[in-house]
């Protein structure tokens, strides 16, 4: 079979672009309804203890305030852990809002005010008085680091003899890094609009990366039937992991809707965006032992991360240190410290964005110690196989990333001596780092449906958090079906659609894209069967002989429109649904995306201010479905990496046990003026193993390694190694 239209690989403008640039795209908190009630969450102020009394009397006297819900009067919710354990749950006992009088962290939701309008709800919330019985708390990872317990994660077993080889290495580095808490802070605050249907069922518009995850959560937590809950997320204003788990505004809005039998919206404030999951603070130690010629002889990476007292959050922090370079003697350790805080949550390139700071900064330190060019050091230790898994890569063009990235950047003009390059008052620094992220695929389903006018609709319950899912799925469907782009619509963001995994981990193209492709291929088979029956010219035609192109089925000179076949099929629309699973042949291979990041910084020597002037990010991620949206993903990842390196840090007052810079004025994400030129290079990477599309996904790889490359560039500029992130100017004075 041939599908001749080549929509895959085209820099198609976003298909949802028009709605977004005209303000017509509606997000979770933007669905109106007459009589819609508004909820305002009242957040706690102590880190640990219990609620003695909640006095809502003043709030309840206000005309227009409908009710105040707290742990004493909430509707019934599940009392076991299992119903709360969503598809991205950490090990342990998930948080249950308004469950009882226990206060587990500062900022915990303790009451929900429901009123006729938003301002009134918020004002009423401010009148609620809460009496606490406070207990001692601890929120400081550094204080309890010696009490860390092993993380419940499957780490690669130690290989070789790290201690022995490290001790006898000609050169070694032993360095410690720390990274701060970061909050996702998508531009759209979390919100849920629960539309109470006449039959008592709930239609919920939620900010989520998984409509079915939220559907199952609500159903189980509230003991409802499956058909009583339907969750939508047509547009999601960024998430970066914050929507992987149902956040507390969802069950709170549902509680109110069920209690009042009315439609309710609960939106969180920006301050409340600092009261749930986040990227955890880590303390890392990296030990590298090398021969005088630069060969890595020993690698050890230890990370201690924080978690809550109720769940053990794990991510892949140290694994990368066992796979990015060839080394026979490796020891990886990952531990957790429970604190009186909320559970951390996957955040863009979870684990890798942290672990690669340690590994890639340490590699730079080693390169300096050896007086070897950092790229040369990496090439010397290039890993042909994933040595954690003992498997070859399905494809790995990291060498090309180094080469093409270096060429685009002009790396050969680098004077390796720190403080050797200058532009007026600015010290100039050039640094680089590598990145890696796993290329995963999950089981996913999709439905393809062709109507009598030749319009193809493909659907799956995935989301588009800004990644370009609407667009790339449209392209995949157009190419697989031979129907031109303008006649293809992709529908997502509805839990009643065919099953899709959470949108995360860079596996949406691989998982849902494969399902979309297979659904369209199955549709084609069905269309051919109709043609064989109804069009004499196609009577004996096989899939291999025919072509699907421009909305037609062709065989030599014979040609019939797909619309006509849909009509003749007797089914309108003509429909197929498939479930795609990772192919068995993947088992024998490791699959990953890779990057090489090159950074130029300008550092004002007197004042310590750093400007990331120029970045080249060379990416190997298999086939690129849409170079325009894929480039945007990488640009975004680089911006995140710059933020990680220089700006982002949630500040906790440990005496109060509370995050204090809970606003976008004081939690600094990069602004436009912080971002210099970014050049994105996609190197050719052919992969027939990873999936039939040959595409690996690009949501995470763009951030991985960036912060390390910035730090390495700062060292090159200033001669200062700052190992405590973010690298704010005070650390450079």
């Amino acid at each position: 079979m041939n599908a001749s239209s080549k929509s895959i690989g085209q820099p198609l403008d976003r298909v949802d672009g028009l709605l977004k640039i005209t303000g017509q795209a509606r997000y979770a908190g933007e669905y109106p309804e007459d009589g819609l009630l508004h909820g305002s969450v009242v957040s706690g102020s102590i880190a640990r203890g219990r609620v003695r009394r909640i006095d809502a009397s003043r709030a309840l006297t206000l005309p227009g305030v409908v009710t105040v819900i707290d742990h004493t009067n909430r509707p019934r919710i599940a009392s076991d852990d299992e119903p709360y354990q969503d598809a991205d749950a950490a090990e342990g006992s998930p948080f249950r809002p308004l469950y009882n009088d226990q206060v587990l962290y500062s900022g915990q939701p303790l009451a929900l005010v429901i009123a006729e309008n938003l301002e009134l709800a918020r004002y009423a919330g401010s009148l609620i008085e809460i009496e606490y019985e406070a207990q001692d708390h601890q929120t400081d990872l550094a204080i309890l680091q010696n009490e860390a317990h092993p993380a419940p994660a499957e780490l690669p077993k130690p290989r070789g003899n790290f201690q022995g080889e490290y001790a006898s290495s000609a050169l070694s580095v032993d360095v410690s890094y720390s990274t701060p808490i970061e909050h996702h802070n998508p531009m759209e605050p979390h919100a849920s609009t629960v539309l109470y249907q006449p039959d008592g069922s709930l239609h919920i518009h939620d900010k989520t990366q998984g409509t079915q995850n939220c559907q199952a959560y609500v159903q189980k937590v509230f003991g409802l039937e499956k058909d009583q809950v339907r969750v939508f997320a047509a547009y999601v204003g960024g998430a970066f992991g914050s929507g992987l788990r149902p956040q507390y505004q969802l069950p709170l809005a549902v509680m109110a809707a069920l209690a009042l039998k009315r439609s309710v919206r609960v939106s969180l404030t920006r301050q409340q965006m600092f009261t749930f999951g986040y990227r955890p603070r880590t303390l890392q130690r990296v030990q590298l032992g090398a021969a005088a010629n630069g060969r890595l002889l020993a690698v050890a990476h230890t990370a201690i991360g924080q978690t809550s007292r109720f769940e053990d959050f794990t991510e892949h922090v140290v694994e990368w240190s066992g796979m990015l370079y060839h080394c026979d003697n490796v020891e990886l350790t990952y531990k957790l410290v429970p604190l009186d805080v909320y559970t951390p949550l996957d955040m863009r390139a979870p684990g890798a964005a942290l672990g690669l700071i340690g590994l890639e900064c340490a590699m730079d330190e080693l390169a300096c110690a050896l007086a070897i060019d950092p790229i040369q050091l990496r090439l010397l230790n290039y890993a042909e196989r994933n040595e954690n898994e003992g498997k070859p890569y399905s494809s790995k063009e990291l060498r090309e990333c180094y080469a093409q990235g270096a060429r685009r950047f002009g790396w050969d003009k680098r004077n390796p001596e720190p403080r050797s390059m200058r532009e007026g008052r600015q010290l100039v620094g050039w640094g680089m780092a590598g990145g890696v992220w796993e290329a995963m695929q999950q089981k996913a389903s999709a439905r393809a449906s062709l109507d009598a006018n030749g319009q193809l609709t493909v659907s799956s319950a995935t989301t588009d958090i800004g990644t370009g899912t609407y667009t790339v799925m449209t392209q995949i469907a157009a190419q697989a079906s031979g129907i031109s782009l303008e006649n293809v619509t992709f529908i997502l963001g509805d839990s009643s659609l065919p099953t899709a995994p959470l949108q995360g981990g860079s596996f949406t193209v691989s998982s849902v894209g494969t399902a979309v492709q297979q659904a369209c291929e199955a549709l084609n088979e069905k269309l051919l069967a109709v043609a064989r029956q109804t069009c004499p010219a196609f009577a004996g035609a096989t899939l291999e002989q025919v072509t699907f192109a421009d909305g037609q089925l062709r065989l030599g000179e014979a040609c019939v429109s797909l619309a006509e076949l849909a009509q003749k099929s007797g089914e309108t629309p003509l429909q197929v649904q498939v479930t795609a699973e990772p192919e068995e042949k993947r088992q024998a291979y490791a699959t990953a995306t890779h990057s090489a990041v090159f950074v130029e910084v300008l550092v004002d020597e007197d004042l310590g201010t750093v400007k990331v002037n120029r970045v080249v990010s060379a990416i190997a991620a298999g086939r690129v479905i849409n170079p325009k949206t894929a480039r945007s993903q990488i640009l975004g990842g680089v911006v995140w990496g710059v933020g990680m390196a220089l700006h982002e840090e949630t500040l906790t007052d440990h005496a109060l046990g509370r995050h204090m810079n809970h606003s976008l004025a004081e939690y600094h994400v990069p602004v436009n003026a912080d971002i210099g030129d970014i050049d994105v290079v996609f190197v050719d990477e052919h992969d027939e193993i990873v999936n039939a599309l040959g595409s690996k996904g690009v949501g995470e790889i763009g951030i991985v390694g960036v912060a390390a490359a910035v730090a390495n560039a700062i060292y090159h500029a200033t001669g200062k190694r700052v190992r405590d992130f973010p690298i704010t100017l005070d650390k450079l004075l």
């Binding site: 102020s45 301050q271 400007k611 500040l651 509370r658 809970h662 004025a665 912080d674 004075l733």
Partner: protein, 329 residues
């Protein structure tokens, strides 16, 4: 925010007559509404002053400029008189906030901005400025952004304005009208140090309305520079800022003005250092000596010791750049 009564008078006198201990005047609203939404201030009555005839610039008989309190920060910064005669003020305004906020914020309101101290901004924690007597967690807490000059046991907050740092250096005069009539306040006296009443940021009485800011004739247009250092390249409050203004006679400093932002509860000036500078010759050594003298009295907290080093370097840089503006020195 709490509910409030709204009125919009037509005259200054009517506005002043409407005021009470529970009222606030509102113009741009960029800080007041922010504070009200966080329940940090809860006026029962907002008096909208945007209908008052205070939105013009005019020249004063003494050759200065009178800026109506309602002139927006953006209009002021881009006004040809200000750009030409008081570039220090223009630079300082443009270093602050965002274009949107500068379009909204008024000149008078800029003086009344409240601190960005994390603890002040969180109604759930103690703060002497917000709730007198409740304590100051910043003193032993997250105080990286806090004061190194003039703080008290009660409060270590800093004033967040950029514009005010330039106005301090330019020795502007604040014109106010209250029930008792009109008066003027020297800029240096307008904001106060926290002492044991940190809830009071300035000398304005409840019934007093800022009507204008008067700039003296001396604008230091030849040799001035505003330097702002912050945690990101734009749209962030100053860690340290310096307004430097020099009057030069060849290489000799006739007069110097130096005001620092981000380091105290008010724009920080040191007259002794300024007068020492006059008569000195422009050089890095001179500026370094001035910076050292200025920073001598700094009293850093646990996490803001860097501000002393940073301020010292920033003073040298700002004075050097100011000296160089006219191509001399």
């Amino acid at each position: 925010m709490n509910p409030f009564h709204y009125s919009k008078p037509d005259t200054v006198q009517a506005a002043v007559d409407l005021s009470s201990p529970v009222s606030r005047f509102i113009a741009g609203g960029t800080n007041l509404l922010d504070l009200m939404k966080e329940n940090l201030t809860r006026p029962e009555h907002l008096i909208d002053i945007t209908g008052l005839p205070l939105a013009d610039l005019s020249e004063t008989p003494s050759g200065g400029v009178m800026i109506g309190a309602l002139v927006s920060n953006a209009d002021l910064a881009w006004h040809p008189w200000i750009q030409r005669r008081y570039p220090l003020l223009s630079q300082a305004i443009l270093a602050g906030a965002s274009p949107q906020l500068r379009n909204m914020a008024s000149t008078g309101g800029n003086l009344l901005q409240r601190t960005r101290c994390y603890y002040f901004y969180d109604a759930n924690v103690p703060c002497n400025k917000r709730r007198p007597g409740s304590g100051c967690p910043a003193r032993d807490g997250l105080n990286r952004m806090h004061a190194i000059f003039g703080a008290s046991d009660q409060c270590v907050a800093t004033h967040p304005s950029d514009m005010c740092v330039a106005l301090a250096a330019l020795e502007a005069v604040v014109h106010v009208v209250g029930r008792g009539g009109a008066r003027t306040i020297e800029f240096a006296d307008f904001h106060r140090l926290p002492g044991d009443a940190p809830e009071r940021d300035n000398q304005l009485a409840d019934d007093e309305l800022i009507t204008a800011i008067e700039l003296p004739a001396a604008g230091f247009a030849e040799h001035s520079h505003y330097l702002k250092i912050r945690d990101r390249a734009s749209y962030a409050f100053a860690l340290v800022s310096v307004a430097a203004a020099l009057e030069l006679d060849g290489p000799v400093i006739r007069q110097a003005r130096l005001a620092l932002g981000g380091v105290a509860h008010k724009p920080w000036r040191d007259r002794a250092v300024e007068s020492w500078l006059s008569g000195q010759t422009v050089s890095r050594e001179t500026f370094t000596a001035a910076a050292d003298a200025l920073l001598q009295s700094a009293e850093p907290l646990e996490h803001n010791g860097f501000k002393v080093r940073l301020a010292r370097r920033a003073v040298v840089r700002a004075l050097s750049d100011a000296a160089l503006v006219g191509g001399q020195a």
